[in-house]
């Protein structure tokens, strides 16, 4: 959402940007999302809410949560992980394991359907992807992704399609 600071008094719908723009956008009462009650337009997997709760729960981990001095998990990376799932997970995508790492990052892991896929947020903007396809259909990946997530999207699509 746009910055909340009121500068000029505009009553409009939120722009959806966090650009640092100062124009005030107050949310009037608006109609609910047009697909709220539709069954046929469902695009989220059934496990999504539970996994989002697991991700959310990681923000409560205190320092030394791993018994080896780990810092608290970076909150921005939790948001990025949640948004990625919301964007790329489909109804037949299997649920990932949600794993905090000792350097304060979060990792999503899938080990099923012949695919080992690990997605770890090295920072809020850089994602490390490890992919191994036991069937050999997908080429292995062990790389940092920053701007191009197509390889990750392709991996999840393949994983979903094997369900």
């Amino acid at each position: 959402m746009a910055d909340e600071t009121c500068l000029n008094s505009f009553d409009t719908l939120p722009s959806g940007f966090d650009s640092g723009a100062l124009s005030d956008f107050q949310v009037p009462e608006s109609s609910p999302h047009p697909w709220t009650y539709s069954l046929s337009s469902r695009t989220a997997p059934r496990w999504l809410n539970n996994v989002l709760k697991e991700i959310d729960a990681l923000r409560h981990l205190e320092r030394n949560w791993d018994s080896y001095g780990a810092p608290r998990v970076n909150r921005q990376t939790l948001l990025e992980a949640a948004n990625l799932l919301g964007e790329l997970a489909r109804p037949r995508t299997p649920a990932p394991s949600v794993v905090p790492t000792s350097d304060g990052a979060v990792q999503l892991e899938w080990h099923t359907r012949g695919i080992d896929l690990e997605v770890r947020w090295a920072s809020p903007t850089i994602v490390h992807v490890c992919l191994e396809d036991l069937s050999g259909v997908l080429a292995p990946i062990d790389d940092d992704l920053r701007y191009d997530f197509l390889p990750l999207k392709a991996a999840l699509r393949e994983l979903t399609s094997r369900g």
């Binding site: 910055d3 600071t5 500068l7 000029n8 008094s9 505009f10 009553d11 409009t12 719908l13 722009s15 959806g16 940007f17 966090d18 650009s19 640092g20 723009a21 100062l22 124009s23 956008f25 009037p28 608006s30 989002l52 959310d56 923000r59 909150r75 921005q76 939790l78 948001l79 949640a82 948004n83 990625l84 919301g86 964007e87 790329l88 920072s123 809020p124 903007t125 992704l145 920053r146 701007y147 191009d148 997530f149 197509l150 990750l152 999207k153």
Partner: protein
């Protein structure tokens, strides 16, 4: 390269230029206070605000403009600092992973849009370099910029050309002047996103266009004025290494925004804003 269109009286009310970089853990609130000492003469006022989340345009992931989930983030110390000039129309915003420079039109001011190459870009450059020099002097580290963003926010005020939000088609192309429904349009919120690519055709980022209906209350006015808030934001990665790569994107972004602004608005609107021949 196509010459950029220009308007004598554009409806722009705010311009934002933002550089997002890999987080600098040593750039925290105390260091922001020290930074202000360097900006204080020009920006004597400060405000504190919550930090903005980081945003990256990615290929394969839908537009970064609509993050789907927002957690209840525990209240943390305010970590975005504003430095404002006396009149409040120029400001710098800093946080651990962002440097932002704003110009905005203040109410009841006759100050005009100060122009991108005459003022917006030079002032961003000057302040950004001062910021980098501070980071170097304090041994905090240098910014590794991962996203740049340029936004133009325009307020198209109701006037002779249009009288209600249903007159959208008189200001914006691609929208029929015939009403969609035989009913009064109450509000509208249109969003479009387009890919930005470099000269080699590689993904750079996105151009976002948002048209929203709204109302403006000017101080002293007895009635609200209907407006369209038309926001164009170009966000993407640097075009190369270092500062030059960042500035190349800033200029590309400005160009894309100006061209898009002209293409998305009607000839009738251009006449109101006094478009100059190319």
């Amino acid at each position: 390269m196509t010459a950029l269109p220009a308007f004598e009286s554009p409806p722009v009310t705010e311009v934002v230029v933002s550089a997002q970089f890999e987080p600098l853990p040593k750039f925290a609130i105390p260091q922001m206070g020290l930074l202000w000492q360097r900006f204080r003469a020009q920006y004597p006022r400060t405000e504190q605000h919550p930090a903005l989340p980081s945003v990256v345009e990615r290929l394969g992931i839908r537009s970064a403009m609509e993050p789907q989930f927002r957690f209840e983030i525990e209240r943390e110390p305010a970590v975005r600092l504003w430095f404002l000039n006396e009149t409040g129309d120029q400001l710098v915003q800093v946080q651990g992973d962002r440097f932002i420079r704003n110009w905005r039109r203040v109410p009841n001011s006759d100050r005009l849009y100060p122009r991108f190459y005459n003022s917006i870009l030079p002032r961003f450059t000057e302040d950004y370099r001062a910021f980098c020099q501070f980071l170097q002097d304090e041994q905090i580290g240098q910014p590794v910029v991962n996203q740049i963003e340029v936004s133009y926010i325009n307020n198209i005020v109701m006037g002779d050309a249009w009288h209600a939000h249903g007159d959208l088609g008189r200001m914006f192309r691609g929208w029929s002047r015939d009403a969609l429904l035989d009913r009064t349009l109450e509000s509208i919120n249109l969003r479009a996103s387009y890919f930005l690519k470099d000269a080699a055709g590689e993904f750079l980022g996105r151009l976002h266009a948002v048209i929203q209906s709204g109302y403006r209350t000017e101080p002293g006015a007895t009635e609200d004025e209907a407006v369209f808030v038309f926001t164009l934001t170009a966000r993407g990665r640097p075009l190369g290494e270092g500062e030059q790569g960042m500035f190349e994107f800033v200029e590309l972004a400005h160009r894309e925004i100006v061209l898009s602004f002209a293409k998305m608005t009607t000839d009738e609107a251009h006449a109101i804003w006094r478009m100059k021949p190319a």
